[in-house]
């Protein structure tokens, strides 16, 4: 155990700290941008899923199929699927972008149902009022449905994103320099596994725990303000 104490100053050298700092940055960037992209795709997928009309059956079917399939494939496998598919067309793609796309696909599949549930929670009557005013699907979505459903949709999305931080630990295997694999590198350089992975675990905890609490607090907060709203309506 004293070898850990001996290693401390070498471990916490400036280059290492910068390395770890960058790695944390990469982890955060991947999570944030990948999931945000995923939320956008998920929204489009839900719009596709709700397109009326017989001609839209393949569109609706594709939307459902996409979600059901990619929810049943591990993230690591999805990442490799994206990588191998892209490599056919682009010989030397940016691994960061490849992983970003994989994250987006994964996030899309998992959040599409959250978003859809939120939209479907809006009372039919609001949508009928918009229909009789000739709103059309997209205007109804932007002026009526989204403004009223985001308190229900946003907290689960945030919680998903925060939980995903842990999944980014897998992409290092593909060659992206995120936190977990930087830790592995340092371990390879000879630093004690307990020290390295203890510190890395702590860093993940500091990223994940406060944001998770925030997401849960937001969920409670938005839920109570909505129930206050409906209390007032009952007058």
């Amino acid at each position: 155990m004293d070898s850990i104490l001996e290693q401390l100053p070498a471990f916490f050298s400036l280059p290492n700290i910068i390395l770890l700092g960058e790695a944390v940055g990469v982890t955060v960037a991947l999570t944030f941008f990948g999931c945000s992209l995923g939320f956008l795709f998920a929204f489009l997928l839900v719009m596709a899923r709700q397109t009326p009309g017989r001609w839209a059956i393949p569109l609706r079917g594709t939307s459902i199929l996409f979600v059901e399939l990619f929810r049943r494939v591990p993230f690591l496998v999805t990442s490799y699927l994206v990588l191998f598919a892209i490599v056919i067309v682009i010989k030397n793609p940016s691994l960061f972008i490849v992983v970003l796309i994989a994250i987006a696909i994964y996030a899309t599949a998992y959040t599409a149902d959250i978003i859809r549930g939120g939209f479907e929670s809006i009372p039919r009557q609001q949508i009928e009022a918009a229909q009789t005013l000739n709103f059309g699907r997209w205007r109804t979505m932007f002026y009526v449905i989204i403004p009223q459903s985001w308190p229900v949709i946003l907290p689960p999305l945030i919680i998903f994103m925060v939980a995903f931080v842990k999944d980014t630990s897998l992409v290092g295997y593909l060659g992206v320099f995120e936190l977990a694999f930087r830790g592995r590198e340092l371990n390879n350089q000879g630093f004690s596994g307990i020290l390295v992975f203890g510190v890395v675990a702590l860093l993940y905890f500091c990223l994940s725990f406060p944001l998770m609490r925030f997401g849960q607090w937001l969920e409670k907060r938005l839920a109570t303000s909505r129930s206050q709203q409906s209390q007032r309506e009952l007058r």
Binding site: Q125, N134, Q229
Partner: protein, 245 residues
């Protein structure tokens, strides 16, 4: 030529037939009332006219122009000329009164904001709510919300106003303010098709009463004819029950 002519309209809802062969006509400036027990299809007629419920047969002709409910463009054109006010007011909860009233003219009809807002103030004054322009629906009483819903419908300058049991969800003391508003509209010559349970009001304001039961038209006549001298058994039974209180 009647303002609105409905011929042999049929509709079904989840394989249950709710309207059978319904015909009625509405002249310009006329106020017609649809009465009858719950489930008789009164609201369904309004919903079919606005394209909210599918019609399985028959047709509707607005001022000489037939409405093709299979064509999205035709339905949009019909919605341009008719407006509906719902029992549950259906105001957009995320917008204040002014925005609720002006959003359709501004965004859909693309009229300039200043012009629409000036008009909106006048309409809100007409329904007695000019000072509530910046309030949100959850800050208003049911009667006030319903009057805003009427204002919202009027902002589109419809030719025909459809009112679907607009006082049924209100506390009794709030009903009159809404009825007053409708009286005013009738006086100003608005063509209206009203579904209502308020028989005294129907008697006062409607020039034609259509009694319905189980999706069919049972009897048509003036209020005096229907309420005092109902011809069919069913009408007599219904009138007897409702006039007892």
């Amino acid at each position: 030529m009647p303002h609105l002519e409905v011929s042999n309209l049929s509709a079904s809802y989840a394989s249950l037939a709710v309207l059978h062969d319904v015909s009625l006509s509405l002249e310009k400036g006329e106020v017609a009332a649809l009465i009858g027990p719950s489930g008789s299809g009164k609201s369904t007629i309004l919903r079919v006219l606005m394209g909210l419920t599918a019609c399985t047969g028959g047709k509707a002709v607005l001022d000489g122009k037939p409405i093709d409910y299979q064509s999205a463009a035709s339905v949009r054109a019909a919605r341009d000329r008719m407006a509906i006010v719902f029992q549950q007011y259906n105001l957009f909860q995320n917008m204040d009164v002014m925005r609720n009233v002006t959003i359709a003219p501004i965004k859909i009809k693309r009229r300039p904001r200043a012009e629409v807002e000036a008009e909106a103030i006048k309409i809100l004054a007409r329904v007695g709510l000019a000072e509530k322009a910046r309030a949100y629906p959850d800050q208003l009483s049911g009667g006030q919300q319903q009057r805003v819903a009427i204002a919202r419908a009027l902002a589109l300058k419809p030719e025909i106003l459809l009112l679907d049991e607009v006082t049924s969800a209100l506390d009794p003391e709030l009903v009159n303010e809404v009825l007053d508003t409708i009286r005013g509209l009738a006086r100003d010559g608005m063509t209206m098709l009203i579904v209502s349970h308020e028989m005294a009001f129907v008697r006062e304001v409607a020039s034609k009463v259509v009694m319905m039961d189980k999706g069919r038209v049972v009897e048509v006549g003036t209020p005096a004819e229907i309420f005092d001298r109902p011809k069919s058994d069913r009408a007599r039974e219904f009138v007897g029950k409702i006039l007892r209180h």
